[in-house]
């Protein structure tokens, strides 16, 4: 038996102008998606002849009452488990639209399939069981629609027959889901009471929902707008490949937004090189005249030979995308292992890929939960905002400026593990005109690394006064220097005597003190040195800022000597003065030191000798890629 549902009608054959709209039906498991789909196919006359009778016969043979959802449950495995595994695509017609219906699974286990389906949709139907109301997967799917950029969302409240078609019950659910969606910036196009099983509200306003005056599901679908190519935006042609099959050198890709024509002055980002489009190539007829708009897969030749590679973006000078090594994104996460600060990833923006490190994680929540408690890592099927640092510069746009190029996916071990929207591009420079060439150091980083046998780093020692930071810093400095390295000590107190002499101990001044330390240390690290910073740096927020500045070079060491031991040591007599009330704003005797939660290393100097502690630091620097364990092939990194 073959359970396919063939298209009742071809999608927009030659000459017709019916818009095609792709929709997805989402919502909590068992709230009636498949039933609604089956009913919609029936109501729009889309079922193949005899299909309904055949299914009823199959149901009878199996001793089960007929369900509309059987239409979709084509896979044996699905029938066995009673859940829809994956996205199927079915077509039908409303009055003025060709609808491609993408069914997506509601089971939390298959969120990756829901995302796969919903990402292709122009609009969505969010289904809610009138009896059960808004559930976790309802909220989660609502959130994902927002992240996937699906803006047209119709809500249907199903199984109204189970609540006696109560207008009050309908209003409660309608208010709750509308508030949730509005909070995400999504305004539902309609909220419709239905009974998919009986047909109320699907194609007809029956007497049982006589109190409802809005559109039926079919009418709501008929009002959806198809996706429009983004021709009005600035030109973005991400380069998929350069082809040299013959004497032409063709830059190939799909125009994601804007348009181009032979003769246009273009800029290739992120390098910022300028050229002119010579021809637009095609086959079988070439070259093609006329303007090529968004959505077209094209090939262009340029008036000069430039080094261009896959992932570059062709734009118009003046409206080029930002070049960055650093961005913030709002993402959803699908991998079993939660995404945590420090994780190494592969990020893809269109055809461009770059290795990346998660520098910070914020707002990590389960979008299915009502009270969203924030987590430090982004768990499977959760969402969050991340700062990522990229090892290669990429050209991108915030999604608010360009929904096509302002999104990315994250890969782990060669498999897509998450995706999201580019919120902002840090320190993003607009395209640098090509005739301004920034002066760079005469030395490449790898030349310095080859001499010092380490990479640049910021080793940040934080801890209470007298915890042993300066002692450890000096021991480490001596150790690294003896091994041929280039360590530089930046002691907080020492720098306060000069560079930071204008700063006091207010919260603002302390923050500025830390910022300057971090900036200087980062400058040294970028030039291949290991900057060892010894500073109390009590505020977590300030250290987080330092980490943002130093980025992947940052190594935090918490010198966690117990407070009692520190006060007993008191080599500078500060604790004594503070106890006597003679030293305001002294960190140590109050509770104003905020211990790190995820330091690269924690050392209690009351439990080990200075040499042992230095060993531990050295080991950490080796395992985290700062010190070279053995001679490495530096040429391979060039």
């Amino acid at each position: 038996m073959n359970m396919i549902v063939t298209p009742a009608s071809p999608a927009t054959p030659n000459g017709t102008t019916r818009p095609q709209v792709r929709i997805v039906i989402v919502g909590h498991v068992d709230h009636g998606k498949s039933t609604l789909v089956g009913r919609l196919l029936h109501e729009t006359g889309s079922l193949p002849d005899g299909k309904l009778e055949m299914l009823k016969a199959v149901s009878a043979r199996r001793g089960m009452p007929f369900e509309w959802s059987f239409l979709l449950d084509a896979l044996q495995t699905e029938r066995d488990q009673g859940i829809t595994i994956d996205t199927t695509q079915i077509r039908f017609r409303t009055n003025s639209r060709d609808i491609v219906l993408i069914d997506a699974p509601g089971h939390a286990e298959f969120l990756r399939n829901m995302i796969t389906g919903a990402s292709q949709a122009d609009g969505a139907v969010l289904i809610i069981d009138a009896l059960e109301g808004v559930r976790d997967q309802t909220r989660r799917h609502g959130y994902l629609l927002h992240l996937l950029g699906v803006k047209q969302v119709a809500v249907v409240v199903n199984k109204m027959d189970r609540v006696d078609f109560s207008a009050d019950r309908f209003k409660d659910i309608s208010d709750e889901i509308s508030a949730h969606l509005n909070g995400l910036g999504v305004t539902p196009t309609a909220v419709i009471p239905i009974s998919a099983r009986d047909g109320d509200g699907v194609a007809q306003r029956t007497d049982r929902i006589g109190w409802y005056k809005g559109p039926t599901v079919v009418e709501a679908l008929d009002r959806l707008e198809p996706a429009r190519p983004l021709e009005a935006l600035a030109l973005r042609l991400p380069v998929q490949a350069i082809y040299k099959f013959d004497d032409r050198r063709i830059v190939a890709g799909r125009i994601e937004s804007g348009s181009l024509i032979a003769g246009d002055e273009i800029v290739i980002m992120p390098a910022g090189k300028i050229a002119k489009i010579k021809t637009v190539e095609s086959w079988p007829v070439t070259p093609v005249a006329g303007r090529q708009g968004a959505g077209r897969s094209v090939g262009i030749t340029l008036d000069r030979e430039l080094f261009i590679e896959r992932g570059d973006i062709v734009a118009h000078a003046g409206t080029a995308p930002r070049e960055t090594r650093r961005l913030r994104a709002r993402i959803f996460w699908l991998h079993d292992k939660p995404l945590a600060k420090g994780d190494q990833l592969l990020v893809r923006c269109g055809p461009k890929e770059s290795r990346a490190t998660v520098v910070a994680i914020e707002k990590a929540v389960d979008p299915g939960e009502l009270s969203s408690s924030e987590n430090k890592a982004i768990g499977r099927n959760h969402v969050g905002e991340i700062d990522i640092s990229l090892s290669n510069p990429i050209a991108t746009d915030p999604y608010t400026e360009n929904p096509r190029t302002g999104r990315l996916v994250i890969e782990v071990s060669g498999r897509i593990a998450g995706g999201g929207l580019v919120l902002s591009v840090d320190a993003g420079q607009r395209a640098v005109p090509v005739d301004i060439v920034p002066v760079e150091s005469a030395l490449r980083p790898d030349e310095r690394s080859a001499r010092y046998r380490h990479n640049g780093a910021v080793v940040w020692l934080t801890g209470l006064p007298a915890s042993g930071k300066s002692t450890l810093a000096k021991a480490l400095e001596r150790r690294l220097f003896s091994n041929g390295g280039s360590p530089i000590l930046l002691d907080g107190d020492t720098l306060r005597a000069g560079l930071n002499g204008d700063l006091g101990f207010s919260a603002t001044d302390r923050s500025e003190n830390i910022r300057r330390l971090a900036e200087v240390a980062t400058h040294l690290a970028r030039n291949g040195h290991i900057a060892i910073v010894a500073a109390v740096s009590p505020a977590r927020e300030d250290r987080a800022a330092a980490r943002r500045i130093a980025d992947t070079a940052f190594r935090e060491i918490h010198v966690a000597t117990p407070a009692g031991v520190c006060e007993e040591r008191d080599p500078k007599g500060h604790y004594k003065k503070a106890r006597a009330g003679a030293l305001a704003s002294f960190t140590g005797i109050g509770n104003d030191y905020e211990a790190p939660q995820a330091a690269e290393l924690v050392i209690d100097t009351s439990q080990r000798t200075v040499a042992e502690a230095a060993d531990e630091i050295e080991q950490m620097l080796k395992t985290s890629g700062v010190l070279f364990d053995e001679l490495v092939d530096l040429a391979a990194n060039i």
Partner: protein, 264 residues
Amino acid sequence: MDHLDQLEAQSIYIFREAFARLKKIALLWSLGKDSNVMIWLARKAFFGRMPFPALHVDTGKKFPEMYRFRDHYGKEWDLDLRVEPCPPIDAVDPTLPPAARSAARKTEGLKMALAKYGFDGLIAGIRRDEEATRAKERVFSPRGLEGNWDVRDQPPEFWDHFNASPPQGAHLRIHPILHWTEADIWAYTKRENIPIIPLYLSQNGKRYRSLGDQDITNPVNSTASTIDEILVELEQTKVPERAGRALDHETEDAFERLRVAGYL
């Protein structure tokens, strides 16, 4: 841009991604209407030439018109044509129903060709609207080491980002026309003037909607003797495209079993 332009642009994008991200790919040429459209799209993507082989896994039981078509257009389109045989029927799972077993030979032939050439990607012309299990496919669809398809563990795929890293020894199926319909194929074939095998057009009240092996493919009743007439017929019919394919109808799960094992 009209509907066909959009389909074409999307398929070209997929072809270019496959060519850029995989090391050694081939296009599975079944000689049917869908794979002929694919070859046309590939030539568009790569400006006139298809820069990878066309692989015909030959059951030896195709219609004579199909072999003539292959030999003629293989040359005219300058294809790097590789014809690979299938093993004898005895080598195939005897628990499958007869037609499915016959079709499964092709799966075995495919495995042999994969082993011979070491392709890491095979481009196949399946479409979501053909058959329910195909509707569940990804554009880049990973296969296991045995060529098998794990429908329960498909990676997410969105925003035209594809999972293109098959494990060592495994391969990917790439489906550039997954989003097309049967009517799209015909409308595009007409617009682009792509050659077809005449068996698709009605003779004596019957035509083939789908072409497979001679012994397991049946014609459907039809008077459509031009592509335009086919398009009109498709507007009205509620008969599934693969109705003439015996293997789809033997048991409820025969087709899925075939696909899990690596059938297209």
